[in-house]
Structures are given as C-alpha cells and as structure tokens.
C-alpha cells in the first residue's frame, strides 16, 4: 500500500511539474499581437559560436530577431549599418574602423559598447570556441577599442569581405555578461542579444517564443510576440497556414503553391535563392578531366525545361557559377540544350556509340556513378532521374545512387582514394552573399587533392588562373578591380564546366495577409524583423 501511495504521489508531482510550462505557453500565445511562424526546420541552438545557430536555416531566422549585428544585409543583399553607425575600410583592405551606435543595451540591461564588440569578435576568432564559418573569421588578426564607441578590426591580409563577415548571421553580437552567467555551454539555450526581440521560452527542437524587447534602440518592434513552431511536413505546414494556426510558413513545395495562390487570405512570397544546384564532376577520373566531355554533359541536360516544368517556374537556369543575387554575379553564358552538339563533342573526345547505345572509348563504356541525396535539395531525386534520362539520350550512362540526406555530406567530402562518385549533386549557399566567398569555397584549388577537400572543391578543380583571380577579388584595393577579377573568374569556370549546372531554386514562403512585412531573403532566410500584425 505504501509503495502504491508513493507511486501515485510521484506521478502527481510529475504531472504538476509538467503542467505550468505548457499552460504558461498557451497563455502567452493567446495574447493579441502574436505572430506564429511554422518553420520547416527546428531550432536547436542559438549561439553564433559552438557550431553556430542550428538547425539551418531555422536557427538563423530566430537569431536575426534575437541579435543585432554591426552590419546588416538589406533586401537586395547590399550591406547596410545596423549596430554600427558607419564603417570605413582602409585603402589596403586590412583595417576596418567602425563607429558604434551609442546607448544600445542588451536584453539583460548591460551596455553594448566597444568592449562588448571586442569580446564578441575575439570569441568568434577563437578556433576552439567558434568551430564553424571559419573562412569568414580566420582572416581577422586583432581588435582595438580606442574609445567606447569605436572599434578597429585588423586583418592579417587584405580582406575585402570583412563587411560581409560582420553582416553574416554569425556576426551576431551576444551579451558578454550572459556568456559569463550561463557559460560557454549554456548560452545556446539561454541566448541574450540586443535585437528587437528577447527570449521568453525555448524548447529546443519544438518551439521558441520571443517577446518584444522594450529597450530596443530601433523603437518598438512590429509584434508583441513571435512564436517559432517546428512543422516538418510541408502538407501540415500548409494546412496550419490555411486554417490560421500559424501566420507564416516557409519552404512551400513548388507543386503546392497553386493551392495557396488561390486563397485570398494568403500571400505567396518568393525570391530566387543564392544557391545554384549542380552536379560536381569528379575531375580525378581521366574520362571527366576532358573538358569536351564535361561540356557535352552540360549540353545534354534540358535545364530550362527542368526549371519550368519540374519546378513550375519557381526556378531558373543559371547564367553563371554564381546565383543571380550573389554580390559580384556576372551573367557569363546561357545554358543551351543541344543533344547533337553534345554527341559531336563526345565524338571529338574519341567516343563512339557501343552495342548497347552507350558510348565507348578504348573499349570502356562511359558509365558514371551519379550520387544524390534524398530530400536535401529541391526535387533532388527527380532531377537526378531526369539528368540520368537525358544523358542516356547522348549515350552516357548515369547510374543513380540515392543516399540518406544525413549521410550525404560524408560521401561528398572524401579523400581522393575513397571517392565513389563521378557526379554528385551539390548546392552551396554563400551565407555572407559574397560571390568571392562562394567561388573560393567551390573552385579554389585544394592544398592537397589527395586529402579531403579544403572546403567544397570536392571535384578537385584546379586552375591557377582562377586561384589568382579569386585572390585578386579578395585583395585588390579598388572595388571595380575586385569585381572585374570575380567576373573573369566566372567566365573561366563557366567555360571549364567543373559542374553540370542545373538550376537556381526560388525560396517560397507564404504568409496570411493579416501579417505584413515578411520578407524572403536570397540567403534562404524568411525574416520577420519587419513583420507586423
């Protein structure tokens, strides 16, 4: 009997302990002025360091509200001041002098001054604390604070992308006092910044509630509360939006947009992304090191048709290795679908059709292993199937291997000896919007092609001229010279065709018309900074 009583009491206590949190949350949401956002990715951590904001992009979307940064991107990916009042890059691109807005405080009441900024930048420079986004932070060599509102950042080499780094999500300025209070391990669950909204409740992986920060320097935010809810299934997100359970959703599958477009209460918000999707070509294979073969592969894929038919027009065929809104993008060519020319190029490269219709050279069939993740990129498996079908038309066999999305990156980033793929689907999202960063991450030669790729040059592309130009694009004192170098690099890479270029997808979100000011940024993020209800 005693044991049973104890058990009953214990169960009761557990139920009571669980109750208040949920009741409070339900209460919080019932107030007016609450915007609820049904996200396709869950929010797990909210610290710019220690692996940055996760999951992606959900964590970054919340971080944009919790934290202010020195600089910001506007809707067209132009860099504009945020916590900085103004900034100036030195002639040699090695020093950036920033004049801070005065009187700004963090959510915990501590001042956001030069010392706090120095603390933050040094924290991001520290490789042990900040393990991700290294290419953004590695060039920085020191921070000086001549007075309370001035910060001077120096780099070890000319670094034109420094403003992009400061405007990047990982440039979020966190409260040093909160780091002290919660520790390096605890901050990710107890974030304190100086953004328009502050933390109210956080269940990682499920729900995050932010409330308006009364002391925000920029005035009262547009909503009293913003609730982020994780809803993994697209169909569930859509029905949550149409029934009004949420006000905003992201990642609307393009085939379902037509359903929302007919709804008078709902607005579809779409914007081309910064992530061109393509197939990395494994250049360590002798057959694929031949540029004519790579050009033939590019000619064989009906990219425009894929964009129009498979993505219902919510995608475009790229005209450069960079997406349209990347800083420094230059239109360098047009993707043409021409099977005859593709076949002619294969013939020039010494290939002749074999008995089964697949072309051969010296008795070896041109059969390629095409690796694709499932659910990582828009319509990934379907696009791979189309590519495989299209290549067959010119006599190239592409055998598809579908990989579970969690395991995919490991297949991509292999040392040379373990590369199992000839073609692998890939898309890079330059989160600092810099075209230089994008091209350097994908096409700058690796220090050692036998090891794992340094960044994402998984196909082992190596062109000394491109290396030179990318270096110039980072270090030339005049902006015009930097852009010219970046433009020439795009020309060369396009002609070298180290990827099979596929499509640039649009990011599609949707909001109820009762909410205004929701924007989809080219860098995937659906931002609620200016959202009002």
């Amino acid at each position: 009997m005693q044991r049973r009583q104890f058990l009953t009491a214990a169960a009761g206590a557990a139920a009571l302990a669980a109750l208040p949190a949920t009741t409070l949350r339900a209460f919080a949401q019932s107030g007016s002025g609450t915007i609820t956002y049904g996200q396709s990715t869950s929010i797990l951590t909210l610290d710019p360091a220690h692996g940055a904001f996760t999951g992606y992009p959900g964590g970054y979307e919340a971080a944009l509200l919790l934290f202010d940064r020195l600089l910001d991107f506007d809707a067209d990916m132009k860099i504009v001041p945020q916590l900085a009042q103004s900034y100036e890059m030195s002639e040699d691109l090695q020093t950036c002098t920033i004049s801070l807005r005065s009187g700004v405080t963090f959510h915990d009441g501590t001042p956001l001054d030069a010392a706090a900024v120095k603390f933050n930048i040094e924290r991001m420079m520290n490789k042990d604390i900040n393990t991700t986004n290294r290419p953004l932070w590695d060039p920085i060599s020191g921070v000086e604070t001549p007075d309370d509102t001035t910060v001077v950042i120096t780099t070890s080499a000319p670094f034109a992308q420094l403003p992009n780094t400061l405007a990047h999500g990982s440039g979020a300025i966190v409260s040093p006092a909160a780091i002290e209070k919660f520790g390096e391990d605890g901050f990710a669950q107890n974030p304190v910044g100086a953004g328009p909204y502050e933390l109210e409740a956080f269940s990682p992986g499920q729900e995050l509630t932010l409330k308006a920060f009364a002391g925000y320097w920029g005035g009262k935010p547009g909503a009293d509360r913003i609730v982020f809810k994780f809803i993994a299934e697209p169909a569930t997100r859509i029905s949550a939006l149409t029934t009004g359970a949420v006000d905003i959703i992201d990642s609307v599958p393009v085939q379902l947009v037509s359903q929302l477009a007919g709804n008078a209460d709902i607005e579809v918000i779409n914007r081309p992304g910064l992530r061109p999707i393509g197939l990395i070509i494994n250049l360590t294979r002798p057959t694929l090191s031949e540029v004519k073969v790579r050009q033939a592969l590019n000619l064989a894929v009906p990219v425009v048709t894929i964009a129009e038919k498979v993505f219902f027009g919510y995608a475009q065929a790229p005209d450069s290795p960079l997406a349209f809104d990347a800083i420094g993008h230059k239109s360098v060519g047009e993707l043409v679908y021409d099977q005859e020319k593709a076949k002619a190029l294969l013939a020039e490269a010494g290939y002749a059709p074999g008995a089964d219709g697949i072309v051969e050279k010296d008795g070896a069939r041109l059969s390629l292993a095409l690796y694709v993740p499932e659910g990582l990129f828009p319509g990934d498996v379907a696009v791979a199937e189309i590519v495989s079908g299209a290549l067959k038309q010119i006599g190239v066999e592409a055998v598809i291997t579908k990989i579970e999305k969690g395991a995919y990156w490991d297949y991509l980033r292999q040392d040379k000896a373990s590369m199992v793929w000839d073609l692998a689907m890939f898309g890079f999202n330059p989160s600092n919007a810099s075209g230089t960063y994008h091209l350097a991450s994908l096409f700058k030669s690796n220090a050692d092609d036998n090891g794992k790729p340094d960044v994402w040059n998984a196909g082992r592309y190596n062109n000394p001229r491109v290396d030179e130009l990318l270096n110039l694009a980072d270090t030339a004192p005049a902006e015009a010279d930097r852009l010219a170098a970046l433009g020439e690099a795009q020309d060369i890479i396009w002609a070298d065709a180290p990827h099979v270029w596929l499509q640039v997808n649009e990011n599609v979100s949707a909001a109820r018309k009762s909410v205004s000011g929701v924007a989809v940024m080219p860098i995937v993020f659906t931002t609620l900074r200016d959202a009002k209800i």
């Binding site: 169909a235 599958p253 085939q255 038919k309 498979v310 199937e385 598809i400 579908k402």
Partner: protein, 282 residues
C-alpha cells in the same frame, strides 16, 4: 498423427475453400505480372516526357504520368517483379533461418535453448518494422538490402513459433519410440519432428508474405527501397506523397497494387490454414 484429418471433410474443404481459390488465383495473376509485366508494359518504365507531367489517366496513359512524365501503368507493371520477388525470397529465407533456429532451440533444450531463446526474445522486443529500418539503413538501398531487412525481421517470431511446435512434438510417442530404437537426434528432428511441424510453418510463411509486401513498401516509402529510377511500388508511393493534393492519381495506383497483393497473400494464407487445420471445421 493428429494433424491429418479424415478424408471426406478434407475433400470438402478443398473444393469449397473460397479463400484458397481466390487467393491463389490473385497470387497467380501477380506472379504472371511479375514475370511478364515488363513485356506487357506499353512504355519503357523509365522513359520521361517532361512535357507531360502529372497528367491524369487518359487513353495514352491509362493511369496517368508521374512528376517527371513517366507512364504510371508501365511502372506499376514493371514494379510487380520487385515487390513479388522481394516478398517471396524474404519469406523463403526467413523460413530457413527461423526453422533452423527454432527447431534446434526447441528440440535440444537446455543451454542451447536458453541462449537462442534469449537472442530471439531480445529481437522480439524490437518491433519488426523498426528492426527492418535499422537493417535496411545499414544494408543500403537495394532489392538485396530490402530482402535482408525483411528476412531478419521475420526470423525471430518464426523461430519462436517453430520452437514451441517442436517442444510440443518432442513429447509425442513416436519421438520416444525413435529414441528407443537408437535413432540419432538430428535424424529424429529432420525426419520425424519437422515434417509434422511443416503445416504450421507453411501457413505462417504465407501469412508473412503479405506482411513482407507491407514492410518492403514501407521501407521504399521511407526512402530505403531500391535505387532510382527503378519502379518499386513503395518508392513510387513515397514520391507521390508530395503531390497528394495536386495529383492524387499518383498515389492511387501503387496504393491499390500494394493492397491487392497483400490481399492475395493473406487470403491464400488463410485458405491454406483452412485447408490444413482440422480444428477449424465449421
């Protein structure tokens, strides 16, 4: 032997066994499609027409086209082979594994039984679909991987069944008689015990086949099926899900095909049980 019924009712059950007739005819139809389906298909199941995406049923495409413009009818026909062969080979393999484990554990008893039963019990605590997912994710996305996953998830329950049947039969007089005349244990097990357990095993396996179709399709649905562009039903079902509201015909064809094949296996299994089991006389 208790399991062999009197002659008259058996003939009665054989001629009036609707389940068996229906099940075996439907199953025969599917096996026919599995073998000849690819030849009967009006289109190449991987041929795409990007200008005819998500089209509804019509005279040119009887069951419509999928998200990259392939003929669904041809894909269903071509996919029959995968599903039927995965189901049949996995129950066959599970039969071999389950009988081996269960009969050894049941007949020899003692430490052998305790160890084997321990393992079986441990595996039985994991729901078979979960076990299959775990195995499929290690074995990889292929027909072979699916077969291994399904087989492995069937072995524990079958071994448990065979073990208890063997323990029951072991107590029969004919076993004691065989021991008395000095017959070896293996010979007794193989020649006297197992043949008497065969009915139970066959019925269980035929019922498992329906289950195998469901698990195989579920794994395909979850992305652990065969590699694209192979037309496996579960994978087709999974790929249709995104289009459920805009092109419901995509999900109908594989859904109905899976249901009918499961129905075929299950009614066949039920029919077999009625045929063999004298206790079910009505």
């Amino acid at each position: 032997m208790a399991d062999i019924p009197a002659a008259a009712p058996r003939r009665f059950r054989r001629t009036h066994n609707v389940y068996l007739w229906f099940g075996s005819s439907l199953l025969g139809f599917f096996i026919f499609l599995a073998i000849f389906g690819p030849m009967l298909a009006p289109y190449d199941p991987t041929e795409q027409d990007l200008f005819a995406l998500l089209e509804g049923p019509s005279a040119t495409h009887w069951l419509g086209t999928d998200n990259i413009g392939r003929d669904i009818f041809s894909r269903i026909l071509a996919g029959t082979g995968y599903t039927v062969s995965i189901a049949l080979s996995s129950v066959l393999l599970a039969g071999i594994g389950g009988v081996a484990l269960g009969s050894v554990a049941g007949y020899f008893g003692g430490k052998v039984d305790r160890v084997l039963s321990g393992i079986i019990d441990l595996l039985l605590t994991v729901p078979n679909i979960v076990l299959a997912i775990a195995i499929a994710s290690v074995a990889g996305s292929s027909a072979m991987g699916l077969t291994i996953a399904i087989t492995a998830s069937f072995i524990p329950p079958l071994a448990r069944l065979v073990r208890s049947k063997v323990i029951e039969l072991k107590e029969e007089d004919f076993v004691a008689a065989s021991v008395t005349i000095g017959m070896s244990h293996w010979r007794i097990l193989l020649h006297h015990v197992l043949p008497n357990a065969l009915t139970v095993i066959i019925i269980e396996l035929s019922l498992n086949a329906g289950q195998a179709v469901l698990i195989g399709s579920a794994l395909g649905f979850l992305g652990l099926g065969v590699q694209p562009p192979a037309p496996e039903w579960g994978t087709m079902l999974g790929a249709s899900r995104e289009f459920l509201t805009v092109a419901p015909h995509l999900i109908m064809a594989p859904g109905i095909a899976i249901s009918l094949l499961v129905l075929a296996f299950n009614t066949f299994g039920d029919g077999l049980r009625d045929f063999f089991d004298p206790n079910l006389e009505k």
